[in-house]
């Protein structure tokens, strides 16, 4: 049983979906209840991963390995390290919350709606646990189809445009990524004379810098579109705005992380020489910083509440990629943690927009104002989410951003200086939207009688708030989980990094010793 724990986590949502398909479409309440049960079960079975995870081990754990397509050398190979552990937990929790939040919001074709969400859960978990590149690619693509339908069927007025744009954009990136994967596959055959897609085998490759760079760019297009990094972000505002609330939550909290995860899991370790190539690192850093500042500036200008949150994602994900390409332990660990934080706080922000949209069916900021008078609980939660997103100390966002900035500072002071402006701008657009919607007098008569949060809505927010507080106050368990895999990654990309650090610390110690003796 425990040997197959990861497979159980992976396939619980799929099993839930298959059972869901047996329920007649007319039994709407039964469908809702079952979907929630299945998603909650998916979350519960993922909790033992956290308990059984061996923090002292930097490699992959709970590995399951079996033949799938021997003719191609494809294996069913799954396993997790600290990075995937956190993202899997984020996925299972967010999936459950997204499904719970849809109870009233979705009133047509419920069966297909929940089936799509559950299918997507399996796809996303699969992306984070796959250790075989072929398997990874299959899951990566599987995720696209449910999201197309979630946006295209249950979305807003421009849903068709947004859905196909999302699909085509991501697909164009993924097929180029596929070419990169196939190049590694076939280079591996050239060097070792057998075909395999397994990451552990591909890591043994010794590639010339030229090929590494080509493959890096192929991967980059796939991952950067998913993140999305500037200038590939244009699908994101459309998709986020048109998607139903739960779709936006999944999209922001989990789907975008597939891109950053790809950089950490594949680009850096498989292509170490390309990843420290100064030109590539500079490009990545510049694109990240542009995303941070540009995303924040555009957020400032939005009149649509949901679009504002969408653009804030571009800015926040810029921090994550900047952290990754700082290529030091602080940067990468901070980036992973910030991915979780972004999942939590942006997930909450989208849910918040969803709550008022369900009541008023408008997302324009100017239609609101003074909501704190009629919805005090709601105002409190919005304040919480906003401050978490803006990086207030004692909340999760602060820890992530701070660690990333530490990493960026170590890599280059200029980067850090630019990135800090993003933090300031972030606080600006978030506080401003809070002020315009929550504070002051009620400007619109329609808002006078809005009901405050229901019990179910509280239930939707509480897990995220608890998690945000935990990370904000006591992040040590998370850094413990990340320490070993991140150290291994840094050692892989920059061999000798830790020795040099230790030597420098030693030297500093001796220096200070000298000073004291002189005195």
């Amino acid at each position: 049983m425990s040997n197959h724990l990861l497979s159980i986590v992976l396939f619980t949502p799929l099993a839930g979906m298959l059972i869901l398909l047996l329920i007649p479409a007319a039994q709407k309440n039964l469908i809702r209840i079952w979907a929630n049960v299945a998603a909650f079960a998916g979350f519960l079975v993922s909790l033992p991963l956290w308990v059984h995870f061996d923090r002292g081990n930097g490699g992959f754990q709970m590995v399951e390995r079996g033949d799938w397509i021997p003719a191609l050398g494809v294996k069913y190979n799954i396993g997790i390290d600290g990075v995937s552990l956190l993202l899997v937990l984020l996925t299972t929790l967010t999936g459950f919350i997204a499904i719970l939040s849809s109870w009233n919001a979705v009133d047509r074709h419920e069966k297909s709606y929940y089936a799509m969400f559950l299918l997507q859960q399996t796809g996303m978990i699969g992306v984070f646990v796959a250790l075989d590149f072929f398997l990874f690619y299959v899951f990566w693509e599987v995720v696209l189809i449910p999201m197309y339908f979630i946006i295209g069927v249950w979305g807003g007025p421009r849903k068709l445009y947004a859905a196909i744009k999302f699909f085509m954009y991501t697909l164009a990136g993924s097929v180029l990524m596929l070419l990169g994967i196939l190049t590694l596959y076939f280079e591996h055959f050239n060097q070792f004379n057998f075909y395999t897609f397994e990451i552990s085998e591909l890591l043994k490759l010794n590639l010339p810098l030229g090929i590494q760079q080509w493959v890096f760019w192929a991967f980059f297009i796939g991952f950067a579109i998913k993140v999305p990094m500037f200038p590939f972000h244009t699908w994101l505002p459309d998709a986020h705005v048109e998607a139903p609330t739960a779709g936006s939550v999944i999209l922001a909290s989990v789907l975008l992380k597939m891109g950053t995860y790809g950089f950490i899991r594949f680009s850096l370790p498989l292509l170490p020489n390309a990843s420290i190539d100064p030109w590539i690192v500079q490009t990545m850093a510049v694109l990240s910083i542009v995303a941070i500042i540009y995303g924040a500036l555009v957020s400032l200008m939005q009149e649509d509440w949901k679009k504002l949150v969408a653009y804030s994602s571009v800015s926040h994900l810029g921090f994550c990629t900047l952290g990754i390409f700082s290529l030091n332990p602080n940067g990468i660990a901070g980036s992973v943690l910030q991915q979780i934080n972004h999942g939590i706080s942006t997930g909450m922000l989208f849910l918040i927009v969803g709550v008022v949209y369900e009541r008023r069916h408008t997302r324009l900021i100017r239609d609101y104002g003074g909501l704190a008078h009629v919805m005090p609980n709601f105002a409190f939660i919005f304040a919480f989410a906003m401050l978490s997103s803006a990086g207030l100390p004692l909340l999760n966002g602060f820890i992530g951003e701070f660690t990333i900035l530490q990493g960026a500072f170590e890599a280059s002071r200029t980067w850090a200086a630019f990135a800090v402006t993003g933090v300031v701008l972030g606080a600006a657009y978030l506080l401003w939207v809070y002020q315009r919607t929550m504070l002051g007098q009620i400007t619109n008569a329609k808002n006078r009688l809005l009901p405050d949060l229901s019990l179910r809505e509280w239930a939707v927010f509480l897990p995220f708030m608890a998690w945000a507080l935990w990370i904000g106050i006591y992040p040590k368990p998370y850094f413990d989980v990340l320490e070993k895999p991140v150290a291994q990654l840094v050692e892989r990309v920059r061999p000798g990094y830790f020795e040099a650090q230790a030597a420098r610390a030693q030297a500093a110690l001796i220096d200070s010793g000298k000073e004291t003796t002189l005195r």
Partner: protein, 489 residues
């Protein structure tokens, strides 16, 4: 007698003979024994009997080859050959014929057309396909291609009462005859170069020539035109959209799968056999044709509103992808062509049979709008169509991805990086028009249309193609072994 027609000859050729005889039998039964409408189903049974006979014989031939440890069995002094390659393609033809035939029954009823001639023509066409897969002599191959094509000219124009069916048949016939003429001209040049019609002798003569020999170039160019026409690759694709649209939908399925697979078998025999030494001459031609096919197929499909026409353009683009396997030309590429043709056969048939199922007495059911809201009316058909379309686009975990996988890998292995990138990016374009159908089925509101009333035949055909399209994507191992067997020489 024994010199002229040996036991080996008989053993190799018997499927083709029996197919032709069964074809004649269907015609005779139609005329003598089962003239009434209520007896029509027996005609279908005769066809299936012929296919079972062929299938059993192919199975025994395959066992014989592996039991004897032979890689091939040459018959008629080198005019026909029984090898893994011919067996592989003949299996595809058998599957395609059965699936198309069982899906045709109700369609013919609705269109009010004759059953006997239809089944007879299908069987005789398949007999021609046999020669295309097994022929190793220019004459045999030419007879095969003409036998197949003549049946198709008639079948495309089978709906005599409909203008567009007649128009399609005329276009197909005129262009087809012209391209056959060009091809035969090329054959005559090859004969002039080598003094033989046997592919093996021609191969030696071609190898002895300089790569840029003008005679050889002319021969290769004209033969290429004929072959590219048959596989409906651009720039010789003009007939395909019209023929596909005008033909009865079941014939379209058979044309898109049977005829195309057979033509690709023919094309592979030519380019990998006698013309393989002429690669410097034909490789640029094929690269051009492949890129043009993908471009024209994928771009033109975007604006189509008729599903059959849309699938015709998609089929042109698939021809481009398959040709890329030949451009790469290594082991992976050739195997990739076989795999691609296999998966293409089932996903394309499936998609066309959904269109067949949409045909009702009152409704032609070929427009994208006719599919509006299909998910609410007939969810099974909508989901199957989604699977076929995803597979056509090449999204895992469906069969189409495995085909594209091989083609991309082969291109990368042989250093065709730009071609690989172009081919890959067209996948993203393709998704746009395939998803126009998906959008109509899943997002648009249902129009008031009569419900679908289909037969067991259509359902079985759809179930088989649908399951295979999924299984080949999720667990392709046995199918990859099958394709591998086609290449062991």
């Amino acid at each position: 007698m024994s010199e002229f027609y040996t036991a080996t000859d008989h053993y190799v050729v018997v499927p083709a003979i029996m197919l032709a005889l069964f074809g004649c039998a269907v015609l005779l039964f139609d005329f003598w024994m089962f003239p009434q409408a209520r007896h029509r189903k027996y005609l279908l049974l005769v066809l299936i009997g012929g296919e079972i006979f062929t299938g059993v014989h192919l199975w025994r031939q395959g066992n014989f080859l592996s039991a004897q440890g032979l890689s091939e069995l040459v018959a008629f002094r080198g005019s026909l050959v029984l090898d893994g390659f011919s067996l592989f393609f003949n299996w595809i033809f058998v599957a395609a014929t059965i699936i198309v035939a069982i899906a045709s029954y109700r369609y013919l009823e609705i269109e009010g057309e004759h059953h006997g001639e239809y089944y007879g023509l299908i069987l005789v066409a398949q007999s021609g396909m046999f020669f295309l897969a097994a022929g190793t002599d220019l004459i045999t191959l030419f007879i095969g291609v003409e036998l197949m094509a003549l049946c198709f000219y008639v079948m495309v124009g089978f709906l005599r009462g409909q203008k567009r069916s007649n128009e399609a048949a005329i276009k197909y016939l005129l262009l087809g005859a012209f391209s056959s003429g060009l091809m035969v001209y090329g054959f005559s040049l090859l004969y002039g170069l080598s003094g033989s019609t046997k592919l093996s002798v021609i191969g030696q003569a071609v190898a002895a020539r300089e790569p840029w020999d003008p005679m050889l170039f002319l021969a290769i160019a004209t033969i290429s035109v004929g072959l590219l026409f048959k596989v409906s690759a651009a720039p010789f694709h003009m007939w395909a959209p019209d023929a596909y649209e005008g033909a009865p939908t079941t014939v379209t399925a058979y044309l898109a799968v049977g005829s195309k697979a057979a033509s690709f078998a023919f094309l592979m025999r030519m380019y990998l056999g006698p013309l393989s030494e002429g690669r410097p001459t034909w490789e640029p031609l094929l690269i051009g044709a492949a890129v043009l096919s993908m471009t024209i197929g994928n771009i033109a499909a975007v604006t189509q509103s008729n599903v059959k026409r849309l699938l015709a353009y998609s089929s042109i683009s698939h021809a481009g992808y398959i040709l890329l396997g030949l451009v790469a030309g290594n082991q992976t590429g050739i195997k990739g062509m076989a795999v691609y043709i296999l998966v293409y056969a089932f996903m394309t048939m499936g998609a066309f049979i959904v269109v067949v199922a949409l045909r009702r007495k009152e409704l032609i059911g070929e427009d994208i709008d006719d599919m509006a809201g299909l998910i609410h009316k007939s969810p099974g058909y909508a989901v199957l169509m989604l699977i076929f379309l995803l597979s056509l686009a090449g999204i895992p975990p469906t069969a189409g991805f495995i085909g594209k996988y091989y083609i991309f890998l082969a291109l990368l292995e042989t250093g065709h990086y730009v071609l690989a990138a172009v081919a890959a990016l067209y996948v993203a374009v393709a998704i746009y028009y395939y998803f126009r159908i998906v959008r109509s089925m899943f997002v648009s509101e249902a129009a008031e249309t009569p419900p679908l009333a289909t037969t067991v035949g259509v359902r079985v055909a759809l179930a088989v193609t649908g399951v295979l399209t999924l299984v080949m994507g999720v667990y392709p191992e046995p199918f990859l072994r099958l394709a591998q067997s086609s290449l062991t020489r």
